[in-house]
Every structure is written in structure tokens, then in C-alpha cells.
Symmetry: D2
Subunit: 355 residues, 4 copies
Amino acid sequence: MPELHLKKKIGVLGASGYTGAELLRLLLAHPLADIVLLTAERRAGQEMRNVFPQFSPYSLPRLAGLADVDWSAAGLDLAFCALPHATTQKVIRQLLTAAPDTRVVDLSADFRLSDPAAYARWYGHEHHAPALQKEAAYGLTELNRDAIKQARLIANPGCYTTCAQLPLIPLLRAKAIDPDEIVIDAKSGMTGAGRAAKEEMLFSEVSEGIHAYGVGHHRHMAELDQEFSKAAGRAVVVSFTPHLIPMNRGILSTIYVRGRGDISAQRLHTMLAETYANEPFVHVLPFQEMPQTRHVRGSNLTFIGVAKDRVPGRAIIGAALDNLTKGASGQAVQNMNLLLGFPETLGLEQIALFP
Amino acid sequence: MPELHLKKKIGVLGASGYTGAELLRLLLAHPLADIVLLTAERRAGQEMRNVFPQFSPYSLPRLAGLADVDWSAAGLDLAFCALPHATTQKVIRQLLTAAPDTRVVDLSADFRLSDPAAYARWYGHEHHAPALQKEAAYGLTELNRDAIKQARLIANPGCYTTCAQLPLIPLLRAKAIDPDEIVIDAKSGMTGAGRAAKEEMLFSEVSEGIHAYGVGHHRHMAELDQEFSKAAGRAVVVSFTPHLIPMNRGILSTIYVRGRGDISAQRLHTMLAETYANEPFVHVLPFQEMPQTRHVRGSNLTFIGVAKDRVPGRAIIGAALDNLTKGASGQAVQNMNLLLGFPETLGLEQIALFP
Amino acid sequence: MPELHLKKKIGVLGASGYTGAELLRLLLAHPLADIVLLTAERRAGQEMRNVFPQFSPYSLPRLAGLADVDWSAAGLDLAFCALPHATTQKVIRQLLTAAPDTRVVDLSADFRLSDPAAYARWYGHEHHAPALQKEAAYGLTELNRDAIKQARLIANPGCYTTCAQLPLIPLLRAKAIDPDEIVIDAKSGMTGAGRAAKEEMLFSEVSEGIHAYGVGHHRHMAELDQEFSKAAGRAVVVSFTPHLIPMNRGILSTIYVRGRGDISAQRLHTMLAETYANEPFVHVLPFQEMPQTRHVRGSNLTFIGVAKDRVPGRAIIGAALDNLTKGASGQAVQNMNLLLGFPETLGLEQIALFP
Amino acid sequence: MPELHLKKKIGVLGASGYTGAELLRLLLAHPLADIVLLTAERRAGQEMRNVFPQFSPYSLPRLAGLADVDWSAAGLDLAFCALPHATTQKVIRQLLTAAPDTRVVDLSADFRLSDPAAYARWYGHEHHAPALQKEAAYGLTELNRDAIKQARLIANPGCYTTCAQLPLIPLLRAKAIDPDEIVIDAKSGMTGAGRAAKEEMLFSEVSEGIHAYGVGHHRHMAELDQEFSKAAGRAVVVSFTPHLIPMNRGILSTIYVRGRGDISAQRLHTMLAETYANEPFVHVLPFQEMPQTRHVRGSNLTFIGVAKDRVPGRAIIGAALDNLTKGASGQAVQNMNLLLGFPETLGLEQIALFP
């Protein structure tokens, strides 16, 4: 009997942040992933258990510094890149130059904008790897599956944008909603802000309260503009306001839309239900039911709900996902499965942890 | 030297719920309030310390049942009514019949709708005290101060509606925003749901997550419709979606509006800043700053912020208050101060408890 | 090639509580469990998705009422029993009478006390199934594995007691600590209190605070007395105080002990490390390191730490587990694996969900 | 009619931390405090509203740097010193040299140890102001009131130590408990860890979990040793283990003691109830009732409970306070009131904020 799948050699660059830890949580339970390389600049030389004690019982490679890695010798089948903004472009260029057969799933925002001009406008400088920027496939799996399968470099989408695009892109593509009347009120758990020690992220600063931030100028908007405009076939600028919620995981997007012509909320629901009927990781709730982030916590699922607004002609769409799983590392593993020819759901069968 | 103020005799009907406890927190520290009557049906005969242990060190009347109260003999100067929906109308009618000189601040929704037909439509039955319904003054202090001073019965506004009306009514009155394009995305702490033991309010059900509820059909909408229509001078129906947040206190309203004509976000900010310049309990932040609920926790303040949206012509307004204080019991005490001729801020000087 | 394992038919009695949901979370991902029966008295006739929306995407049997189950026809290989105290004994007796080959893992306290007199003393009435009480094996897997494998009925241990027994029983058996000087200060997340709607379990009652409860008279003490006395070979009564913590999952036991003779804290650490060296679900941290509940959340692991106290001769032992997993449903599945001849870790490989 | 009290000039050194903010919360509502000086090194030149937005509506002095303060010209009646460990001794020496009539309440640990040798042993260096170290009065108000009134410099006690000393010192003084068998299991909210940006204090690191820290070697132990030994009249070393709880405010001490001779738990309760019968800020609950931190949140109160342990001869004592109020800034204001001849409770009448 032929062995259908051999284990593949996987590296995680930037393993000491939250998306790095989430990758390890998923990869350690993945039957075909062999974790052979972990890097973390400030923690180089340490064991993963010193950085995240939940990994104490598991055998994992010691954390390396990027400068000490020989990409060619490493022979990685796939590298996850969870590095900070400034570093990413340079490291991936070096990696792919030295080891052109390695596949890369990049969890940063660095390769998400395909237009060099848009990149320069939003980030204030030219892209450091413009050729790769062109090559990268946008990793919103359900809506870009074919391109992902062919690609060498995947720009894994942001958590906010995944949670807004999964419900909205099918409706924009179908010209079912007015692109000029979209309001996205997004709420995120604290892990979305990362693990860097900042005063405003201390427990006592963020527990027992809620606030909006980045009003009018959040960088995720560039990614939304690009993908929504592509879907609508013309320029789309949406209103998007993120909020921080005193919880660890989860994003909820409450989206206010107006149907075009006489397209009702119920019709919008049907369109989304049909689009995702066979998708293992997108679940559309019955009409008028709204999703809760807690019901997808730790899973790779997105729950979507559609309800009628009391204002005639308008609908309210809710979408909930776990920002570290479907919003980052889970979708990254989903993309890995596509890139390496594994079943798409492999290692991602975790049921949500509720309560 | 004449004694300017004598202590007044105050009763709290329904002292075992959260708004009841919040009334006591404020009244115990109020220099001119003499708490002479407390009622609580299911806890009648018990001490307040059995219901809320934080009151253990204080001397308070034993909890009575409503049936045992002789309103005339009680001689209350003012009664706060924090009773459930069904009971309120009957009790207040009896109270005011037996003791017509007592002032009443009602914290329920029962007297907020002035139109009997609207009441019947939203609540499914005729009002039980239609004469009082007509007599009641709507208790949004800053925007209805004169009427409140003259009234015998105050319909204290809801927490969600206070948090939406304070920023929106001045703009609607000035015809500065389009009344057909208002989206209110509201987020509330859990005390807004009350103290009744319900599965969906258990800690493990609501911590570590967020969800919308009552989408499209929340009863607070009746109150919003009435007041917004009055302010705009024509029928206004807004989109309003409440969410539950894993925190105890606080409401944040994120409000999406479009300026009329060429009225900019900055102009809207100026209008609100001018409206509330001399108000002790409404504070407008500098343009482009957004409020956080934690910075008003336990205080009677509302913080309002206005920012430019990236969608041309639109603005984002944030309003934050403590749902138990300015959203309920604090505003009730503010109204009490007006009714009894006290300085409006008396007993309400608490600074927010942060962190 | 012979098929080594066939799927087994599994039932969950009492699926609408937290331990029921946790069983489903684990069993849905278990490769050899076929969930064929779910019961829930108050929710009979409903779908599991109405009770716990996280199961919406999965196909599961509709919830039945116990009275409608024909145990013989059901042909269960194993039933998990997560029923309330009063009901359990009667239901298990009926089940095992009608279907004597079914194995039962009972998650209630009903069969944990093997002495009928102790049971009557703690619960105030005679046991309703005294023969089964005698037959039941105590399900603390690591310390009673052989008896469990032979048994038909397993009394799955309590969450508090598992978290106290795993560190203490090896030390008591070895006579390494003074049985008269044991103080267990235990801290539990809110799911340990179950899903019944009680005022004192509401979010607003338990968030942002901590308190001890059941001081001096918690029922878990009977189970501790029994097992500790068995281990020490003489009567042991420990001081045990549980506290409620504003978090969903997790128990931390901080245990204060005195070594016998000249047995040091370091020696106690070595004894525990050796005892659990080959156990997949008990992990002893390096000497002087203390466990955190968050690092075992959602996993079946127990982390144990031992440190020197500054009081000469004394040591501090910390033990952390997830009360719903190793403290209830995870250990129940671990016992199922033993009973049905599966590998003990099957379906229990989940890494902790942190952050 | 003579004016009994004139407003006094108050300074807060180190106003940008949590104890600084808590001092301002209390002082702004204090009728006789005139806040004339605020310092904060890293935020010098900014307004308090930039550091803590809850103070936006209030008029306060701009934050100064310590180097810019002329102590003599400032003419402070009293300075609160909430500076970090290294700085405190030097600043207070300079202040008292330049302005010898200013009273100082120091919230750091720098003057709490009266023995220079003990200080050097615990902190690893000689004290920088040994004369002042001798002069300082220990500020546990209820138990050292007379010395405080006479002093110029108060060493305000730590939060953990206040919460352990209030219940234990009266019992040690009366020789009612065995000093060699005291176990203090302490649980603190996150504000106790301060506002410095550290990874281990991030929301996502500390929410949804609990852990012990500083096991066996916490610096608060020096202060406990000193005061307990003084009370007992001989050397006392207690077992003390602090834990971090996912909440903002509150400390709960669960204390395990053994009565001497035949002194019962009930007798210990009576002794504490009598000791504190007339104290406005220490409240002893009825026998067998245990305190909850949430019931003292934001107030200056300590709640104490005593219960019988099931182990013969032993008792369990619980004490709860708000670490920022009675555990730090509230007690500091209480001491200020004594030093300036104000009524001891002035400005400290806030009722706990629950829920």
C-alpha cells in the first residue's frame, strides 16, 4: 500500500509571538507536519517552553536567530513567516533566493497589497521585494483557492479583513449591495494587538472597558479597499472602525449594508448560504441569527449571520472568527495544506472551545 | 444663619436590583438624602446587606414589601422606582393617589413613551395609567431641564437611549445631519441586562466573547424613534444594534452619520462642544479623539468624541457613559436634585474609577 | 490487514451542561467514537445547536429525553453520564440492568464514595444503588489504571479532587509528608459551578472579584478524605478551601505541606517527577517553577510544580488543570479509552489554547 | 463662626502610575485638599488628561519633572510620594531638607523597614537616608494611629501586608494563635503590579488564568516579618504566597491559623470584632461569613471574616481590601487626614462600586 503523504519539513519564523504560538498549537497536532526550525530574535538560544510554557511537555527545536539559519541546508518544504513589518520583506527575499523550492506563507501585511504605488502610499516607502510582491497570491482561501494552489508565496490576509471579506466579497461580486453604503463596525479581542509590551495593552488598561481606535486611518483599510474594489469592479471605500474588547480571541464584524434595487436581506442571506454551502470552514447561520465569537474560539471556522434591519432596504450582517486561527495561523495552515497537496482540513478539525 | 437645605425623605422601590444598589451607593454619600424606605418583593424582611454585602457597614432600613407600605404615612419627598415593567404603572398610580406631593423618578421604561398608541403598539397592551403617562416629563436632564423642574413624575431615560441622544439630538435639532443615514452600533456591559438569573447571563456564557442581540427589534427603539423624531421635526427611524461586552459597566455608542450639505465632521464637533460647554456631566473630547467607557466608570459623566470618517461627507461619533450611573441611577439622582431644589451636581461628584 | 479498531457506539446522558459540551468537543474529534445518543431533559427534542451553537456545523443526534431511551435497543458500547446528583443512581441502575454490557463513565459524585456509611453521612440518605456503588472503580486514571481497565462502571473523580490528588497521593503513599499538616487552597474558574442559572453566577456578580466559598464544609472533602486516607494508610483530614476566580476554565491548587523527617522540598519534587515521568497527561515542571492554569486550558494535562517554602521544613506544591478536561470530560474520555481498549491518549492530543 | 479647616497645599510626586491616579481620584473629591503640584518624570510637561483621560474634565496642574521643583517655594503642606524604589529615598531627603515643615506620606517600600540591617539584607545596599528611615512612622493607621499623628514622614504599608496585618496583628499581640503555623495564601488584582509595560502583564497573558508568583522570596515578606515579630514579641516567619487574579482591583488573603491552647475560631472572631468595633474602615463580618473583594472595590474598607476549619483547632481567616485604596492611596489619604488634623474619614466616604 503506497504511503500517500510523507511528513513535510516546516519552519516557523517568529515563533515567540501569538501567531507563532498558534501555528505551533496547530502544527504539533498536524499529522503531516514536521517542525524542524523555529526562530525568534530576542529569544534565540532559548527553548520554546521558556517563551510559552504550554509547550513544556513537547519536544521542539531550540529557538534560532535568523542570522544563523542556512536556508538552503534547512531544506524546508514550507516556511511560515510571522515576523514584524520591517523585517519580513528582506528575510523572505533571502529565503527564496537561497531556497527557491520552499513555499512561504507570510502572516504579515507586507505582501498583501499587489499595487506598488498603493504600498508606497500606505507604508511611506518603496517595497523592498517588488518582484515577490507581484508574485504573491492573496491567501483568502475560500475566495482565491486556485491561485493559492499555484503559488510559491502566500500573503495571508489580516484578521479584520478576513472577517469583513468573507461576508462581503460574494455580495459585491454579485452586485447585490450598494458599495457606497457599507459600514463595518469591527470588534477584536486583545491578542489581535500582539505580544509587544505596551502600556495601553496592560490588563488593567483594557479590562472592564471598550473603545474604538485608529478611527479613520487604520492600515487594514488598504487591504479592504484593494479586495473590495476588485470584487466590485470599481473603486470602493468603506467606513471601517475597529474596537478593542476585553477578551483574548475573536473578531466580530457588524456590517451595515443596503441591498441594490429590491434585493432583500433574506436574498442576501440566501446568496451567502449558497456560496459557502460546501465550505468546511465557513458556516452561515439560519436567517436572522447572529454569530458570537465565543462559538468559534480556537476553531478555524467563520460564522456568518444575516438579519433584516428595521430601516427599509437595509440588512445587518454579522461575521465571527478567531483572529488567531481563521484570522491568522489557522488560515495559514489551511493554505499550507493547499500548497503541499494535503487535504485542506487536515489538522484543523478542532471544535471551538466553549465555554 | 439660615439652614439652606434640610434633608429630604427618600424611598427606593426595588432596591435589590443593580439600579437599586447604584441608587444606594449614590444616596448614602448624598448630604441631603435621608433614605427612609427600601422595598424588594422577593427579599422583603431581609437586610440590604443580605442582598448586597457591600452595604454591611451602613445603617439602612430593612427591606419592605410594597403591599406593606402606607404611602401617605411614609411621607416621602421623593421615590425612586426601579421596579419591573409589569408592576411599575400600578404602583406609581397608587403612590401618587395616596401621596400626591411625593415626587417620583421612575427608572423603568413605562412612562417614557408619551403617545398611548405608540405604547400599545410596542408593549402589546393599553397603558395602565394613561393620565400619568401624559403628565410624565422625559428625564434626559441636559436636554429637558426646564420641564423636569416642573414635573411630579419623571420618566428616567434608558441607558442606550441616553448614550445615543446626548450626541445626536443637538445635531438633529440643528438639522446638521441626514436623519435617514444614522447607524448606531451600541456596546453595553453586562449590568445593563439586570440581575435576573438567566442562563445566557452566566459568567461562562458571556466572558471571552461578544455578540449582537435583539437585532432589528429592540424595545429601546421606540424611545429613540420618539425623541429623534421630535428633535428632527419629522419621522426618524435609525438603525440600532446593541452588543453585549464582557465587562460590568459601560455603554459605548459608535454612531455613523452624514453631514447635511457641506457640514463637516469638524463642524459637528464644534456644535456639540458648544452645546455642552457648560454642562458638568457631558464632556466633549478634542476633535478626532474617541471616548473609552472605562474613563467614566462609576461617574455620572458622558464623554463624547467626533472624528472624520474616510468616506467623504461622513463622520463617526463616539459616546461613552456608565449605564448604571448616567445611564440610570446617576441621572435619576441628577433629576432628584432638580426636583428637590438641590444643586444639580450634589452627591454626583465621584471621579471615574480607573483602573 | 485486520482492522484493529472499529468505531464504538457512544452515548452522552446530560449533554446540555458544560461537561456534556466538553465531552462532545472531544468525542467529535475522536477517530473511534461514534456519537449515537444524546439526552437532555429540559431540552429534549431540540438540536444540540440550539443548546450550544458551536456545534451548528456538525451532524449530531437530536437530544432525547431519558424516558424515551430503550437502553437495550440502543446497544451502547459506552455511556457517559453527566446527570445531576439525584437522577444519576437511578438511571445508571436502569441502564446497566437493561444493557449489562454497556460500560459507564459517570461524571457525577454519586459513585465516588465506596463506603455506604460515608455516603449516607455526607449526602443525608442511603445510596439508591449500593451494589453498583461497591462495583464502581474510582477513575483517577494515572493512579488507578489497572482497576479501571477491569471495571464496568467508573466513578470519574471531581475536578478539585483530581487537582489535589495527583500531587499528594504519591507523597502520602510514600509517607513523605505529614498528613496532619496539609493545607489546600484551591482556585477554580466559573465553569466548575455548572450551567444552572443562579444569581451568584451571573457575570456581573463574579467578574472583577474573588471570594472563598463552602469554607469548612465542601462536599468534595468526602472524596479527598477517602482517597487520602487510603493512600496514607490511616485517617487523614485536610484543610481545603475553594475560591471562585473570574475565568472560565482552570483549577489551581496551592498546597502547603511539611516533609516528614528531613525530606526536603527538592526531594518531594524528585518523587513526583519520577512518579509521572512516563505519564502523557501529568507534567512536572522544573524545581521551583509554578504552574499556571492558562497553560493547560483545553488540554487534558495537569502541570505540577514544587518549591521550597521559606518556613524551614515546608514546601509549596502547585497543580493546575482544566476543570472541564482533565478535571471532568477529558479524564472521562481517557477512561473510555482504557475501557474500550483504545490507546489511552486517543482524541486527547489537543495542545492548550493559550493565549 | 471660625473657619475650622483651611484648604491645605498638596503635592503628588509620581502622578502617572496607578497609585498616583488613585490619589487624584480621592483628592479631587476631598473638600480640604488643594492639589498644587503633580510630577511625572517621563510625562513631564504633559497634562494629566494625556496620562489618564478620566481627568479630562478637571482642572489640574501640568505635570512637572522633579528636577524643576523648588521644594521651599512650593510650600507644600503635604507631599504624597509614589515614586519608584531607587528614586524615593533621595527625593524625600532633598524635599525634607529644603522644606522641613512639609509632611510626607511615602507609598513606596523604602521607609517601611526600620532596621538598617534588615533593609540592607533585603535590598542589597545601604539605605540612602538612614536618619529618615529611623524617623519614619509605619502607616498602618488603625494599629499605629498615635505614632502617625506625631510623625513627619509616614511609610505607608504595602497592599499585601495591610491585608495580612489587619487580621493577624491583634491576634498575635494577644498571643491567641500559634506564630509558627501561619499560612497566608494571597490573591491580588493586576493593578498591584503597577503600570510599567511588561509582557507578563499584558491582557492576553493574564486574563483567563491564575498563577502563583514570587514563591518563597517576595519582598513583602520583610515587612511582614518585622511587624509580625513586633506584635508577637519574638521572631515570626510566616508562609506567604501571592497569586495574580484576572481582575483590576482587590486583594484577598486567605489565612490558615491554629488557635493557641483551646482558643476556638469563634473566640478569634470575637477578638477581631471587638478590636475593630469602632473603626470606620475595618468591618468584621458575622462569624462564618467570608469577604469578597468586589464588595470593597473603590472604597477604603477592609472586610474580615473568620470561620472554623474542619481540622480541629484551626481557623480560616479571610480579609479583603482594594489594593489601590486601603492598600495604598486610600490609606495614604487616611494618614494625611491624621497628619493635617482633619477628620480621619474625610474624602474617604466612597461606597464600594459593585457591580
